[in-house]
Symmetry: C2
Subunit: 318 residues, 2 copies
């Protein structure tokens, strides 16, 4: 049986099943957005890694600076989704030998800019001759033990919330695909995504959130991941999705649902809050309530009808 026959999520489950655990590993491989290590102090150490490469992750329209920014941002978004304060990023770079030195320098400047913007640094790395430009970042973070929030933890009756405007990155992808000119704001959602580091830290410190993850693989897949992790279900409302007016103008209704729910690429946080703590969460960061936690299943209400929301979105090997 080949990897393409089983897909990414099944592969990760098989790999995770082969790995040994240990008492100091609070969250291990495949369980959450980051691994969580107990090093004995007041804080947990969090670590996450992401592999990006030219063909899949860096459309030709992206500048070197944006490629570098993205390679750091994708890792910081995982830290953000656990409320962690970033403390360092290392970057392994696979580079075709005939690449211009200046292009790599632009990429490195973009990495440094993104790390600096969120209070951390590129602290180390590796370079390697590779056929395809391949960037593998690993981000480290820390969070007070009592502030760690998991993908699990949602309870029926909790409110489902998101930061920002899901669908913007998907709209940019759509526009690139159809060669439609769109605003820089929409393109930047795809090319220079902003990891929600400060929002994640504020939410975790607010002690108002019961579960959280990021939606870079799309809202639908993330809801299914949280459903599996927490043993609960979700119902969201299409009418409440905080899609940007610019995006609404650009896309037909079906396309908008596709962008906001399935396309992925938005580095926003998806989280659940007990209704009586919503004010606390709102004080932590701007948010939109898009639905509620239910007993089981993942559903969306559209034009008065409740439909099952399929676990479809961005997956490798498919």
């Amino acid at each position: 049986m080949k990897i393409k026959d089983i897909g990414e999520r099944a592969l990760i489950q098989r790999i995770s099943g082969l790995l040994s655990g240990a008492d100091d590993i609070v969250v291990g491989a495949g369980e959450d957005d980051c691994a969580v290590i107990d090093t004995g102090g007041d804080d947990y150490l969090l670590v996450t890694t992401d592999m990006l490469h030219r063909k899949t992750d860096f459309p030709l329209q992206m500048t070197g600076r944006q490629i570098g920014w993205m390679s750091v941002a994708v890792n910081l978004s995982d830290l953000a989704s656990k409320g962690a304060r970033p403390i360092g990023v290392v970057m392994a770079m696979g580079i075709p030998p005939d690449t211009e030195v200046e292009f790599i320098e632009e990429i490195v400047k973009g990495m440094d800019e993104c790390a600096s913007k969120f209070g951390t640094r590129i602290v180390g790395g590796d370079t390697d001759a590779h056929d395809e430009l391949t960037l593998v970042g690993t981000a480290l973070g820390m969070v007070k033990k009592e502030h760690l929030i998991r993908r699990s933890g949602a309870r029926p009756g909790d409110l489902v919330c998101v930061t920002g405007h899901p669908g913007t990155a998907g709209a940019a992808l759509f526009a690139l695909d159809k060669k439609i000119t769109v605003s820089q704001k929409i393109l930047n959602a795809l090319f220079e995504p902003v990891p929600r580091i400060y929002e994640g830290m504020a939410l975790s410190e607010s002690l108002s959130v019961t579960s959280i993850m990021d939606i870079s693989d799309g809202l639908a897949l993330s809801l299914h991941d949280m459903s599996r992790a927490g043993g609960v279900g979700f119902k969201i409302y299409e009418s409440r999705l905080p899609v940007l007016p610019d995006v609404k103008r650009l896309l037909k209704e079906r396309e908008m649902l596709e962008a906001a729910v399935f396309a992925g690429g938005d580095f926003e946080l998806l989280f659940t809050v007990a209704p009586e703590k919503l004010d606390k969460a709102r004080k932590a960061c701007p948010l939109t309530v898009i639905g509620e936690v239910i007993e089981n299943g993942v559903f969306i209400e559209r034009a008065g009808r409740v439909e099952e929301l399929k676990a479809r979105g961005y997956e490798h090997f498919s």
Copy 2:
């Protein structure tokens, strides 16, 4: 100008020059085998990353298990060279979609085996569809602040020491290239290298070592790296290189020098010790004295003649 025109070490210097520093980054990119972060406790946090891929790093004779072992060992060797105790490894895996699932499972078992052998675990990772099998590990470690040893720190008059038997991995490469059958012991030096985690920890705790790094890129390049880092020189003696008798039988004199000094692939530690502390270092781990620290230059004495030792060895993009 292209990357291949400047080579790996110059590229790393240029990249490092573009990165911002910070007070809590004790050792940053390009300065040592690991980055060192001060998280405020009694220990430093160390992090290192290495990118390996099929064409360059995994000869076809390697099993899946050995590929997995190697991908972890190469990172642990960097931790070993700073005396760190490993606390976790994450692994990003770029996998061609038509790879057999069983082969990936063998690789993962090899990773788990190597991590477990040295007291740590694979705590997380990422999977990605990639044209070429590409494994990027990142290892985290901790070391007491007073036990951290750098590449710099050697003083003229110090003794130059190595662990193990440099040249064994080079001999295996030679045998594979010439299709000569050699012992499993020699092949394993190349295919299942043993990171010197316990030796590194014992050496750093012995407080006898003035500078240290690993020699996986070859003894010659490592001596030049330590020379640049510490502002000192080195003189080593060919006759003192602890080459295995099996390797001596296999190789002619010139080939032996090539294997032991230039070929790389040995995951041994190169370190310097003040003469009066040699007994302390010997109690920490088996070692061989191969030369001494001098004011400047890097030299080797061969058959009574002192020659300059060129900065030649394993470099990407060349």
